[in-house]
Symmetry: C2
Subunit: 391 residues, 2 copies
Amino acid sequence: MPAAFEAQEYRDRVERTKKAMQDRGMDLLVISHPANMNYLTGYDGWSFYVHQVVLVSLNQDEPMWLGRGMDANGARLTTSLSEDNIREYADDYVHSLVKHPMHFVADVIKEKGWDKGSIGVEMDQFYYTHRNHVELEKSLPNATFKDANTLVNWVRVIKSDAEIEFLRKAGKIATKVMQTAVDSINVGVRECDAAAAIAQAQYSGTKEFAGDYPAIVPLMMAGEAASTPHLTWTEKTYEKDEAVLLELSGVYRHYHCPIARTIFLGKNPPPLMKETAEVVIDGLQKTLEFVKPGVTAEEVEEAWRKAIAHSKVVKESRLGYSIGVNYPPDWGEQTISFRPGDKTVLKENMAVHLIPGIWYKEVGFEIDATIQITPDGNESLFDFPVELILK
Amino acid sequence: MPAAFEAQEYRDRVERTKKAMQDRGMDLLVISHPANMNYLTGYDGWSFYVHQVVLVSLNQDEPMWLGRGMDANGARLTTSLSEDNIREYADDYVHSLVKHPMHFVADVIKEKGWDKGSIGVEMDQFYYTHRNHVELEKSLPNATFKDANTLVNWVRVIKSDAEIEFLRKAGKIATKVMQTAVDSINVGVRECDAAAAIAQAQYSGTKEFAGDYPAIVPLMMAGEAASTPHLTWTEKTYEKDEAVLLELSGVYRHYHCPIARTIFLGKNPPPLMKETAEVVIDGLQKTLEFVKPGVTAEEVEEAWRKAIAHSKVVKESRLGYSIGVNYPPDWGEQTISFRPGDKTVLKENMAVHLIPGIWYKEVGFEIDATIQITPDGNESLFDFPVELILK
């Protein structure tokens, strides 16, 4: 179980991160976001429920992994960091009222002589709690703290060819996952049994390669729940003429290809749903024709808004966002958002999820496109019909 | 899809929370931990990847839910809060560099006139980022902030009879989940396919009731990975004479019953594993004979240490912890820890997970007990043989 990518790829990532640090006047980064930790070192374990960090210093080639003692073997197995760069804290730091893992982190920073410069921390990332900051600040009185909140996220925004390969594998799994959902969801089936079939497909992957756990479990809103986007499943059975909104994902080694579709369990969907589906599918198609290197995120959103302007459909939330490697609770990269004000210029090998989900009081409609930006335009990462599915 | 419990149960929980607030001199609580939000209101959605909170004020009967606009219908569906106590922020607060959801939270606190007292926040909970605190403090200059880090967690520590009922259902699912794992894991099977079968069992539940997603995905360390506790699965196939350490859970409406076992794929486990299994199983049995209302957490750990003192087995990490309702990334309650120094007195209707996992350089062994404290002693929440499983 070595790291997912070649050693050179991790070196490139660390180099680009150091460049971003220099641009922002930071000598040291303290990274607690699990996807950023994975991106920089390969580290992969469900150990992010306790405090752990990766350090990147301008004064050292290799990053360091710092975590709980019992997880150090996990770091040895999933990264190629040298032994001196894997540091473990004792178990009595866990959920203690007296000790805090950031004391240990500060001790290592002092030992390395990195406590006098400017330290970047991810101030608005889950996994970087307020107390983390208080304890670090208290323990490192000679340091200056800066906000490095999405610094590594932005380093991640253009994917390497190896990462695109991972996303394409995730896309193959996504196709299988959505087909499994469509096959499983029928009148009289319990929602939980459909969810179980979907999870089975997500973890199992394809015959050629394994699936992985998604950063968001299957979202599958049916009946009255179809008015809101983030509910999961119940023991209720599906009913005739019920709509089911599915937001799922195929995942390969933590790289996500989201896929969303809407199923109507009947032949005659409500007129509002039918009309919305037509407008949204046409609008998404026109938007995709516009997406290519050189256009900005807000221009893409504007193209979408123009494409649906003839209708009554209104989409108040952002149209989509950038994707890639991630861990719970979110597969969004927190970089590009397709909405007014986002002037990010699209470039080759970015990967984005466009999800024009529309929720009315009584019903909703969801469909999406997960695409790679190519030299001339874009290409879907999965292969699935773009339609309201009637069963 | 109404809230999981009767309205009176939520009122009791809020009352006990207010009592704890009074004891600690807090007028208002800002709760961001998803399990605490669920405990106080019933709110249930995978929306915790954006900022959201529950407010509890001494000056108002009902708590308030504050979250993203698109999730407000989810709050209407899963809680019985009155309309005025469900407040939604606009989508341009999400991942913005200018606006922050805590500005919206502060606005509501000011509107209610709750900005002049003492405000408790969960300073070391994931989901309460450092920036949350900075923005709240800046927006509420007349408030005094106190650490309410595990205040609600401790209110949760003694379960109601209705919660015990949920845990027992989770236990029935746990039994099924582990049996599925034992049936699926065989020489030549891919790890991911065993993981898929396990997830299928977790989500599907039993014929009578649905399963739910666990706060931790299946941890299933095989071969060299058996030296560390928090890895997941790969596309590797299981090999003859390989050990597989399983830490799984049955879950009913977010109530967790963890279950851990070790499988050896052969008839002759390494002597070190066999000896460790014998010592640990015997030690766990003796520890369970000791667990009853009135003893403290550290006394339980001491009983365990004495029971294995005759052997070479050393367990450096805590022996276990309290469980109940939870969301990713952790099913531990962050209250009781079975280790030296924890003087919590065990009481009827507590629920705890004792997990003496032992990891050596080359191999590990895991087995557990998930129990309810009864008037006279304790009772297992699941039904599964306590043994090293040879296949």
